[in-house]
């Protein structure tokens, strides 16, 4: 299990091909990459603030919970902070399991929890000079309820 919190970009192809390399007990690898989206062509950049120390702890505990719930052979989470431009990769989650259902479900679980329980905050800077902290969505909190049982 690997957790990385960094300002640098990452090569998702290299991460994926290096992931769980050489193992023959895996039946499925699922990956998700989050990208900075510019919906109306108005976004200049985004700054992601985080809580050093707590961020790594929170992500690690989310990963540990995923490994308790699903039989995961391995798991990788990369999350960036600092300045990002539209089209930049923000984060990546990769899960490996013997079977695809566990790999897909664990990846979704990780994404849902990273959104609402990892201490990151996004600030948007638009091309016209205005700034805005991105609000958490009610849907994001609702998404956690399906994992409650």
């Amino acid at each position: 299990m690997t957790v990385r919190v960094q300002t640098d970009s990452f090569d998702q192809g290299a991460e994926l091909s290096g992931f769980a390399q050489g193992r023959s007990d895996l039946g499925a690898v699922v990956s998700f990459t989050g990208i900075v989206r510019d919906e109306a062509g108005a976004l200049d950049r985004m700054e992601i603030e985080h809580y050093p120390g707590m961020t790594e702890k929170a992500i690690t505990s989310i990963v540990e919970e995923a490994t308790r719930r699903w039989s995961l052979a391995d798991c990788l989470v990369i999350h960036r902070h600092g300045p990002l431009r539209p089209g930049d990769q923000i984060m990546m989650v990769v899960t490996a399991s013997a079977h695809r259902v566990a790999a897909f479900e664990a990846a979704e679980f990780l994404m849902d929890y990273l959104k609402s329980r990892a201490p990151f905050w996004k600030k948007e800077f638009t091309k016209d000079g205005s700034t805005d902290w991105v609000d958490a969505k009610v849907n994001d909190e609702e998404a956690l309820k399906r994992w409650a049982e």
């Binding site: 959104k115 905050w121 609000d135 958490a136």
Partner: protein
């Protein structure tokens, strides 16, 4: 003495990322009341607690939590990772 940290718009409203606070507050709520009474910028930051989250020693908790033995308190808006 306790370390108090602020993130995102809470940090911007208060004007600093962290400070050492001399307090006898027993709970997070009592600490919030003390901070609110200090200056208008604190009152503005802590105006609506439903818009805030709190972590004690880097663990998410709630405003009723005890501060006993706690070294680091952090206040921030709901998280927006992913």
């Amino acid at each position: 003495m306790i370390d108090v940290m602020y993130f995102a718009w809470v940090r911007e409203r208060i004007g600093e990322p962290r400070e050492r606070v001399e307090t006898s507050a027993a709970t997070v709520s009592e600490l919030v009341d003390e901070l609110r009474a200090r200056e208008p910028r604190y009152a503005a930051a802590f105006e609506d607690l439903s818009a805030l989250r709190v972590a004690l020693d880097q663990e998410l908790t709630d405003f009723d939590a005890s501060l006993e033995g706690v070294r680091e308190v952090a206040f921030f808006p709901p998280m927006t990772g992913g």
